[in-house]
Symmetry: C2
Subunit: 137 residues, 2 copies
């Protein structure tokens, strides 16, 4: 069978695009590579893309010059996790606190990994995880 080369895009649906963009750019330090009234895209280290899409704009098929993008759209609290180094765990907690981000909890996993949990402006659950959370990470 053919091969996948990686997970390229992850999408979070957001209500207030400018608040969400500011959060991912200023609090998480992601590099924005595009932005329009429908959404914005960030490059995540490791050749991945995080896309923020305004709620509702993808509910209809999107006719592009090169073909139709089928509709999608979800509501509620989605979850993503970013990888961080063990050595950056305390810096991240301090940084988040300095940016008035409420750290909801901290979890120590049996394999030695640690996670910090907080929410983005849309209530999506964001995790920062050090190696040792899973047997494959």
């Amino acid at each position: 069978m053919p091969k996948l080369n990686g997970l390229l895009e992850t999408v979070l649906f957001v209500e207030d695009l400018s608040a969400a963009c500011a959060f991912y750019e200023e609090v998480l330090g992601l590099q924005k590579f595009r932005s329009d009234e429908r959404g914005c895209g960030f490059v995540v280290p490791g050749a991945q893309l995080l896309l923020l899409v305004k709620q509702g704009v993808t509910q209809e098929p999107n006719q592009t010059p090169g073909g139709v993008v089928p509709p999608c759209g979800a509501s509620g609290s989605m979850h993503i996790a970013f990888a961080i180094a063990h050595s950056e765990f305390e810096s991240w907690r301090s940084w988040l606190e300095s940016r008035d981000v409420d750290v909801l909890s901290e979890v120590s996993w049996e394999r030695g990994g640690r996670s910090l949990y907080f929410r983005d402006p849309d209530g999506h659950l964001i995790e920062l995880a050090t190696p040792g959370v899973w047997d494959v990470y």
Copy 2:
């Protein structure tokens, strides 16, 4: 500010866990690294993890021995994209058709990239994208 090392986990919420697991394992060829009644996890080439979580099981805080995982949960059609090589585009279309997956559309982007769109068993919109879809990919 501290650094992120990558997007580690992406979560899709699913109704029928065994149908969803079978799809990602058999149709997309992902390697399952864990599975229980709450969800299952797949390794995606490129050091990423795709987690399928049964709808509802994360609605309450999850007390683990090492701390509390806050709740999350979303409904609707989420969207993720996997990276594929240009040279694998036709093989992927044929493979999906051979697995009775309905390819909803094919899009040619102005930068030369191409995308195939289809749905997983929960209606999440899955894309396979070759380089040339974005200016950063």
